[in-house]
Amino acid sequence: MTFLPKPKLHHPALPTNSLGFTRRDYEGAVSTLCAGCGHDSISAAIVRACFNLELPPHRIAKLSGIGCSSKTPTYFLGASHGFNSVHGRMPSVLTGANLANRDLIYLGVSGDGDSASIGIGQFAHVMRRGVNMTYIVENNGVYGLTKGQFSATSDKGARSRRGVVNNDEAIDLIGMALQLGATFVARSFSGDKEQLVPLIEAALKHQGAAFIDCISPCVAFNNHEGSHTSFDYVREHNLAVNYLDVITGREEITVEYAAGTVEMVKQHDGSLLRLRKLANDYDVHDRIAAMTYLQEKHAAGEIVTGLLYVDPEPEDLHHHMNTVITPFNELDEAALCPGSAALDKLNASLR
């Protein structure tokens, strides 16, 4: 199937930002994800954040791995270059891109399988290098694109649609990022625009390694719980043929809750998430405290959301390497080639 970007009719009504762009100019091709997929909500939040920040779309480079989540860069920022790389290795591609041109804004989009399973190694190293980027994991706790296997962020003890039980410790990417030296670490929920959009804006402005773990319910494969008390033809049908034959689109799940409070979020399958939004007086500058807090709440069965830690003066990879301000891809022979004279001198020293 070939998908053309949807025509961008410039609604006179639509508000424009100072660059003269409407929100439409930050959108991409029509999404081919399941109706109600949390990932689409995140794409929408990215569109909004970029619009609000008045970023020139073409100055953003969007990179991803492989997965439903990694497909999303096609569905936002149509005027930006995008790179759908290989599974679990987006961080290295983004690092290289960042080195080649320090002037663009780098947005990495990945999934929990892409980043926590196959990709945990590159995830760890891109964080410790302090690459200037916004790295978003669209975390649904499953492998969506390959039909519902566990990812490394799936809860221990969880049961998949196929009845398989997960016995491995769940990886909390937030804890990892904090330990590995990321300078901006946050968590949010796909349906919480009020919280997510500002976080993405802040991450995009952060001049270092910014990581957002965004919980994003999967319509198709998170619905294994016996949530429907009444007899449901569709569920029974799917169970009987023992594969996902009918997937009915759902409403995206949205939440709104105040800072410092805990919200119970019902997922499509009826399962509950206990989201705790950080209080306003939470100290975002203490890395160790953040880790402890995170662990304690986790032990209490709560998922902390909000900005957990930020270093106001991050140093990025270019800073460490003390590179020239001109993007490498603009340097010419004069700047790069030592020339024949230097070569003759070198030859002489090799005799």
Binding site: M1, T2, F3, L4, A29, P56, P57, H58, R59, A61, L63, P73, T74, G78, A79, S80, H81, F83, N84, S85, V86, R89, P91, S92, V93, L94, T95, G96, A97, N98, L99, A100, N101, D103, L104, G121, A124, H125, M321, N322, T323, V324, F328, N329, L331, D332, E333, A335, L336, C337, P338, G339, S340, A342, L343, D344, L346, N347, L350, R351
Partner: protein, 620 residues
């Protein structure tokens, strides 16, 4: 005194012999041995040194073999050694065994060896090195260090070396460290004086000043390739340490610090990342190249294996990437410190699926530099990965080679990159369209234009405008265009170099890379034996048409390779549609560099056997 179990008249040779040093890893012999080699060069006599070292840091045996050849043969000669400098008791027996009849043995006679420990057909020279150094130095580490210089002094007398050259070299090596220079010179003469006093110098192997070196330079292939990358405009190097390729990335670092730091701002016009592994290093290279920088990685076999998926992506997404593969013995972790030409297939057809990649085969440091720079033009022009195939033999040994040259008017060929101006001018952009009929599409750098020329990069599942597509026709069209692009590459890779035999012949030999010097020497040996060979040195893949015609013009060809499975021959047969019966394998694959003697013997044998066996079966 010359000690010997029997009266033996030693070999008599001038400027044409092989000296081998048997040492212990990490004992400080390396720089003494290099001094030995370089000072002979300074006398105008060509030499080729080879390190034979273990995969270990300290304490294991290591050898340094120096071939002296005024005639200019730079390949390993093969056969025994003419003078063995046996400084390692661990390997005594095998070292003794490896001496040519009539050859010389030089050892530390502080505790003299019983006659039983020698051979009766060699000349034994004993010098109490330990005794000498222990007398002169108190600190154990100094004793260890200067012992090497002492034996160098002895050799200078035995072989009639110009000691002034050695002193000059010491001065250069330790420039600014006068204390060190003085100490070394002193140790040097300690040994030299001992020899002149106690041994009848010179022995039958002597050096005589000549002018056979010319303006050639002396450098390792890895360093040369790194320099090529600097001149080629590489700005991003992402690598992961692995023997024998590490010194390439490390040399790039040194040269960048020398040539690429902005004099005013002191800022770097390069970025070198030691990645966490090879999947990451190739990923970074691809990301950087996608974004318009010239980027490369250096690795060896295991890294090539780990890069397969990403290389497939680069092939399909059409991203310029340069990969220096310094080959070692494989497969698996292989023998890291042994040489081979054994990644040809895994590079040429790297990745699952239908792929073909461009390979370059430098023969020496000069071509390492040349191809090192060229590879970046090719990568940009062809928008595909380029493999520069070195091996440990070229990469990690200093080699006499033509001086590097550079044309200052030369410009980087960035290939087909559409600019903002062209896009504004309304030029139609479709990332994977074959506009020019050469199979090469246009690309844009990210961030080029506010509204035009942006595209989404994918492995596949795309149409000519880079839109998502699973259509079979789109897929097949793209695959065929990639074949056309590969066809175009034939004209761009370095042409093969042919060398005619002194008399017309129907026999030919095809070879590549580090086999060069041994092949050239073998050709002379064979000619003397009445076997005449036209030579063709392949320098790139896909093969230039000249390769096909060379094969068609000969009845029988020998394909000389340093691997077990005749990997280049596979490419020749498969890509040029050659009848395999025409191509006879000559394979050397024990991890040591191929020698002239091996090649000439192998070919001579096969020529005989070919006479009796029908061609169709003429394969080992």
């Amino acid at each position: 005194m010359l000690q010997s179990t029997e009266r033996v008249t030693g070999l008599q040779r001038v400027n044409d012999f092989v000296v081998k040093f048997a040492n212990v890893n990490g004992s400080g012999s390396a720089s003494a041995n290099t001094l030995f080699a370089k000072s002979i060069l300074r006398m105008g006599v060509p030499i080729t040194p080879r390190n034979i070292f273990p995969s270990n840091i300290q304490g294991l045996p290591t050898w340094y073999e120096v071939r002296v050849s005024e005639a200019g043969h730079l390949g390993a000669r093969g056969g025994g050694v003419d003078l063995m400098v046996a400084m390692n008791p661990q390997t005594w027996t095998q070292d003794i065994a490896s001496i040519e009849p009539g050859g010389y043995l030089f050892y530390d006679s502080t505790k003299p060896m019983p006659p039983s420990k020698f051979r009766d057909d060699i000349v034994v020279i004993g010098v109490p090195l330990t005794e000498i150094t222990n007398k002169a130095y108190t600190e154990s580490r100094q004793r260890q260090l200067f012992k090497n210089i002492v034996y160098l002094g002895v050799l200078s007398a035995l072989l009639q070396m110009d000691v002034a050259e050695i002193e000059k070299l010491l001065g250069e090596q330790f420039r600014g460290r006068d204390k060190l220079v003085a100490a070394n010179v002193q140790a040097l003469h300690m040994g030299r004086d001992y020899a002149l006093k106690n041994l009848d110098c010179p022995i039958g192997l002597t050096l005589r000043r000549a002018s056979a070196v010319g303006d050639r330079i002396f450098i390792e292939g890895n360093a040369a390739a790194a320099l090529g990358a600097v001149y080629g405009g590489a700005t991003v190097c992402a690598w992961y340490p692995i023997t024998p390729s590490s010194s390439l990335a490390e040399a790039f670092t040194r040269y960048c610090n020398r040539y690429r730091v902005d004099p005013q701002t002191k800022k770097a016009k390069f970025a070198i990342v030691q990645a966490e592994d090879e999947l990451a290093s190739i990923g970074m290279v691809i990301g950087a190249a996608w974004n318009g920088a010239r980027a490369f990685t250096a690795t060896s076999g295991p890294g090539i294996s780990l890069m397969q998926e990403f290389v497939g992506l680069a092939y399909f997404a059409e991203i310029p990437a340069v990969i220096f593969d310094v080959q070692r013995s494989g497969p698996s972790t292989g023998m890291p410190t042994r040489t081979q030409q054994t990644d040809i297939l895994s590079c040429a057809y790297a990745s699952h699926g239908d792929t073909k990649h461009v390979l370059l085969f430098p023969e020496d440091p000069y071509e390492c530099f040349e191809f090192g720079a060229l590879s970046f033009d090719l990568a940009d022009r062809l928008q595909t990965p380029i493999f520069v195939m070195l091996d440990l033999e070229i990469g990690m040994n200093e080699r006499l080679t033509k001086p590097f040259t550079w044309d200052d008017s030369r410009r980087m060929d960035r290939g087909k990159v559409m600019t903002a101006e062209e896009l504004d001018a309304g030029k139609d952009f479709g990332r994977y369209m074959d506009v020019d009929g050469d199979g090469i599409p246009y690309r844009t750098y990210p961030g080029t234009h506010p509204t035009r020329g942006a595209f989404f990069t994918r492995g596949t599942s795309k149409d000519r405008r880079a839109r998502y597509s699973e259509e079979g026709s789109d897929y097949a069209e793209n695959m065929l265009r990639l074949l056309k692009k590969f066809e175009t590459a034939k004209q761009l890779v370095p042409r093969p170099i042919a060398r005619q035999a002194k008399q017309p012949t129907r026999l030919g030999a095809i070879y590549f890379g580090s086999t060069s010097p041994a092949m050239n020497e073998a050709e002379e040996i064979l000619a003397e034996r009445g076997i005449h060979l036209d030579l063709l040195r392949v320098r790139g893949f896909p093969f230039h048409n000249d390769v096909k015609s060379f094969i068609t013009e000969h009845d029988q060809l020998f394909v000389v390779e340093q691997n077990r499975d005749a990997q280049l021959r596979t490419l020749l047969v498969n890509e040029l549609e050659i009848d395999p019966a025409k191509l006879t394998r000559v394979l050397h694959f024990d991890g040591t560099p191929i020698t002239a003697r091996f090649i000439s013997d192998a070919i001579a044998d096969k020529v005989d056997s070919l006479k009796i066996v029908p061609f169709r079966k003429a394969v080992p």
